[in-house]
Symmetry: C2
């Protein structure tokens, strides 16, 4: 049977991995797909650049539109990243009736609704497994493997840079800034790390996970986003003493009145499997009504892990080439007509427990004054940690764990406590989830 | 669009879960599948028996062949278990041109080659996600999610009963027989537990995993099978002291000259994620060339977790109803013509490290005599643990960890050491895998 022609746009980290895997595992892949798969045309920014990957014999140019308009190309693989050129390229490929595979989380999170509507109209597939958690087949697992279930929540370590930094801080007792420098030197963090450590990257991925979990449109602008810059070594140590680890999670949860959609650091019980996912590795913990908890773990980034997801998508698309478009796996898990209109909840309404670190003047009545404020707002305190030998210059650190409470209540109590004259500086809040 | 009619055979644990999920999550499921799915006919052994699950309005009889021969039924769901009636029912369903979904690991492990050949001939699908690791979508992940990869090995906790027993022994310091009694009382172990604790159930599942990982025919009779009855509380404690946990694993690994296929207890480093999978939960750790390590965790048994996998298979089959049979996901991951002829390696040729527990007369020269035997067979010793205060009646326990060695060498050395007059009783061997 005739080989399927792939047009590749972008030959950076993921593009190289994709080409290398298709070359090296060609026989296994075609044995699985039932068709030969070949890259028939590539577009890159600089065709003159030396490449490590073997692309001998494949026409290489700098115009992505030549790939997209090539009548021989059946599947366009978009690996340029960003959301401007990528959007143009993908929309034009769809317009031309071509199927698309992309690793681009920003594109899907920001323009996915537009892209999928267009794909639906033209009867083509847009596959994006590589956009979330690299090589872990999490989109497939959630969208197909758990299709029997009502998904209750998803909690994911979906940014390897953040997980690497938090792991090194804990294991090596290093400060955030020292680990960040190391991570940059090792290539685990970008020169401009804001995208990762401020949580934007995780928010893109969580947006996608929430849509396929609950069958809702993509709503990146509704994600509550916090990064890890507010997590100190001190917090990690106190959390450890209390039996918790601090992880940067994307959490989305179905509630009666809407969907929680939030990215922030979280204390989780150290014995949970997901609390034992270390370094640059990713994992997603899903709770669903029939299957209960499931966890999916693997490399969330890197040349070949991400290439693995891109190639798996290509194989899926190849298999579905001749299928009836109405019977394909829907882009957002549910048929377009079956999408839900559940609202995203504002962060104020989200209920979590809290870890609070305060510095106070060590004087009788201080703890009473603080706990009264919490009591007045119906916030129960679960644990207080204050140790005499921590005192320095008449000041002491207090750690408090609260029971579950509305985020707005917690914020109000924190603000009121911060106004007490005996409280020094700001209170550090990290939310706490049991994830059971 | 017309609903898809399901004919269900068997309404025990898994059957009830399947019906309940299809009923409760009907809207979500049809929103994903694009078609309504309804159970149109059920066969059970005793139609008069009281049932907890709501099957009002569904014709119920005791003849499975009426389901299989019903022209309205498009998909036959076989949930009777065993490999005699199940085989008949499934082969006849296929003969009648119907697609089949089954949770039956014995059927697939023992008769899968015959069943899939017949299905291929008739152009129908046989889906069996529920046959391995219950609700974890491990078949889908391996067969589709990792389709870009050359799979290197799979190591799985795929029998919940064994994992429950080993976990309780470790956590509660109980002996094997005490935990087994508890497990039976709680319904985690059958009245006749041999099938689970002797490793047969795990061997069925491993047979299936190996086939879809490496694209080889199903070869249950080639699995090396050991259960957990030889693991003592003492072993679990010594393993713990040395930084390991004992898990009952199914392991299949691609080697230069063939495929390892073995089920037995294994010491694994306690810090590995899979070593932290406790109780009745299942997990499979996969190493593949492009993606690296991935792990899939969840409930391996139970009414709704297994029903979740059955229903996911139904949705998959519904989606593929109109697809070209040549472009479907192949039963054993690879197209029938692309299956490999790799031999299964005899256990003697498998290379692992070993944990050995010996009871010896505490006398000068004993350790030297033992280690000389290992040295003569080129087996290096990694760790020896012998403690003076363990001595009792002039006897002492020695724990030895060896480096990697051929299983045949290890067996030969053990047999020779057992012949020494200073060695009391048998040596307990548990293999050790680093799983890195």
């Amino acid at each position: 049977m005739k080989a399927v022609n792939i047009g590749l746009i972008g030959l950076g980290t993921v593009g190289s991995g994709t080409v290398e895997i298709l070359r090296r595992n060609n026989r296994d892949i075609s044995g699985r797909a039932g068709r030969d798969i070949q890259v028939s045309r590539i577009a890159v920014r600089d065709p003159g650049k030396a490449r490590e990957v073997d692309i001998a014999g494949i026409p290489l140019g700098d115009d992505p539109m030549l790939v997209v308009d090539d009548p021989e190309v059946e599947i366009v693989v978009e690996l340029v990243g960003g959301d401007t050129l990528a959007r143009e390229v993908v929309l034009r490929a769809i317009e031309n009736g071509k199927h698309v595979v992309t690793a681009n989380k920003a594109l899907i999170a920001l323009h996915g609704n537009e892209v999928f509507a267009k794909a639906q109209e033209k009867g083509v597939m847009v596959a994006f497994e590589a956009a979330v958690a690299g090589g872990i087949p999490i989109i497939k697992s959630l969208r197909e493997g758990l299709s029997a279930n009502r998904i209750e929540w998803v909690a994911g370590i979906i940014n390897g840079t953040c997980n690497y930094i938090l792991t090194r801080m804990e294991n090596d007792g290093l400060d955030f800034s020292d680990v960040l420098r190391d991570a940059q030197a090792l290539g685990y963090a970008e020169a401009d790390p804001a995208f990762d450590i401020e949580g934007i990257d995780a928010a893109h991925k969580l947006t996608i996970l929430a849509s396929i979990a609950f069958g809702i449109p993509l709503q990146f602008d509704r994600v509550h986003v916090e990064g890890i810059t507010g997590v100190s070594l001190e917090d990690i140590r106190y959390a450890g003493e209390l039996g918790y680890r601090i992880k940067h999670l994307g959490i989305t949860r179905r509630q009666h009145h809407g969907i929680e959609l939030r990215v922030h650091p979280v204390l989780i019980p150290a014995k949970r499997l997901i609390a034992n996912v270390h370094g640059v590795m990713n994992a997603a913990l899903i709770r669903a009504d029939a299957v209960g908890p499931t966890l999916f773990y693997g490399a969330g980034a890197g040349t070949e892990p991400t290439g693995s997801a891109v190639v798996a998508d290509i194989v899926d698309v190849v298999r579905a080439l001749t299928s009836d478009p109405d019977n394909r796996v829907p882009h957002l898990a549910f048929q377009p007509g079956a999408l839900a209109r559940l609202p995203i909840m504002p962060m104020e309404d989200v209920v979590t427990a809290g870890y609070l670190r305060l510095r106070v003047v060590n004087r009788p009545g201080v703890l009473a004054a603080i706990t009264r404020i919490f009591g007045d707002r119906d916030i129960s305190i679960d644990t207080v940690l204050q140790r005499g030998h921590d005192e320095e210059n008449g000041e002491v650190t207090i750690i408090m764990l609260t029971h579950n409470t509305r985020d707005e209540n917690l914020a109000g109590a924190i603000s009121e406590v911060e106004d007490l004259s005996v409280v020094i500086g700001r209170i550090n809040l990290i939310r706490l989830e049991n994830l059971a």
